[in-house]
Symmetry: C2
Subunit: 215 residues, 2 copies
């Protein structure tokens, strides 16, 4: 039986779940909710996830939300396709450590303040010091993750949950650069991560997960 | 063989690992690093964890950091004591969802901005609007988690990883109230969570994990 996957195009949190569903070849019903129309806040969505957010997954009546809980759930519940947390306790701990670091440092201290300032600072406009500091942090983190590559991907030659989390954020850096070329965030991506990103984009299922409004 | 546990007193991130080590009855060498003396930044610590942070765990030469990766590792690696992520994929997903929500909403949108403003706003002083908004969010999240209790703890009648994450943050609310009584954060804790906190404090090992400088 297919799972229901509530998704919002362009959310890096929701995108990671879509990549995981595809990597694991899990049948799913894609339910796209529009952020613009505030569809995640609709009563029928909040009846499933009281926080009114994507991603949300429903599997035979059981609902789970928060993207990292969903990734772990999919890997435990479905044996098909890629193993998102492969290997022994040590290997699995490394994948989870990389995920935590991607969220805490690359995203929250790097990308997120830049997005805040450039897109959400309102009339007062962006704070250039905060942008510069976050850009420096982002550069250092991109170098850190380039050094963590093991073979084709972060966990080895097959896709893991760590890639499902990192890959949408590299796309996000490219998207920010497209919208705000002066940020030149794409120039911060080291060669090893550029190659990595090409391997991600070459995955058979990547293209269909790409946000349509970003094309 | 005992694991090495690098800890900083008062860090809610590190505290969760200590509670997990005790709940699972895992032998450990406690290595306390002083934040005040910047001991986490010492070269011998950064040789183990390049981020120079606690908690860090070393198990037979294998180092893992980021508290949530450590909690998962301990539960996979050691069969003793409490099962931190018990039950089937659905139950485990619920524990992980509660952890993600504790971090994202109760901590980062509730406690963290309050601490920022009251302790780190420097000469300009705290922004009362930001404090008030965060306090309101914290109140709503405390109600949310009170409603998520299942029996004695969050996951049922035994301690899970979700409790290891939530319990230090309830202590943190109490500590902030002690340092800044005008915040009255302790008044936001609903009766069900007060009772829960008493059960946590009654755990045989709780007392020794309490930050000595908070007494």
């Amino acid at each position: 039986m297919a799972v229901d996957f509530y998704h919002g195009h362009g959310s890096p949190f929701s995108w990671r779940v879509w990549l995981a569903l595809e990597a694991k070849a899990i049948p799913y019903n894609l339910k796209v909710l529009s952020f613009q129309n505030e569809e995640t806040r609709k009563p029928e969505v909040k009846a499933i996830n009281p926080r009114g957010q994507v991603p949300t997954l429903v599997d035979g009546g059981f609902a789970v939300w928060e993207s990292l809980a969903i990734l772990e759930y999919l890997d435990e519940r479905f044996a098909s396709g890629a193993k998102l947390y492969p290997g022994d306790a040590g290997n699995r701990a490394r994948v989870r450590r990389l995920i935590a670091e991607t969220e805490a440092y690359l995203y929250r201290e790097g990308i997120s303040p830049i997005v805040d300032e450039l897109f959400w600072s309102g009339d007062k406009g962006p704070n250039p010091e905060r942008v510069a500091k976050a850009r420096e942090k982002l550069a250092a983190e991109l170098q850190y993750f380039a050094a963590e590559l093991k073979g084709k991907f972060l966990g080895g030659d097959t896709l893991t949950a760590a890639d499902c989390v990192l890959a949408p954020l590299i796309q996000y850096c490219k998207r920010i650069t497209f919208r705000k070329p002066e940020t030149k965030l794409d120039e911060l991506i080291p060669p090893a991560l550029r190659d990595y990103n090409q391997r991600i984009e070459a995955l058979a299922y990547f293209d269909k997960t790409y946000p349509p409004h970003w094309r």
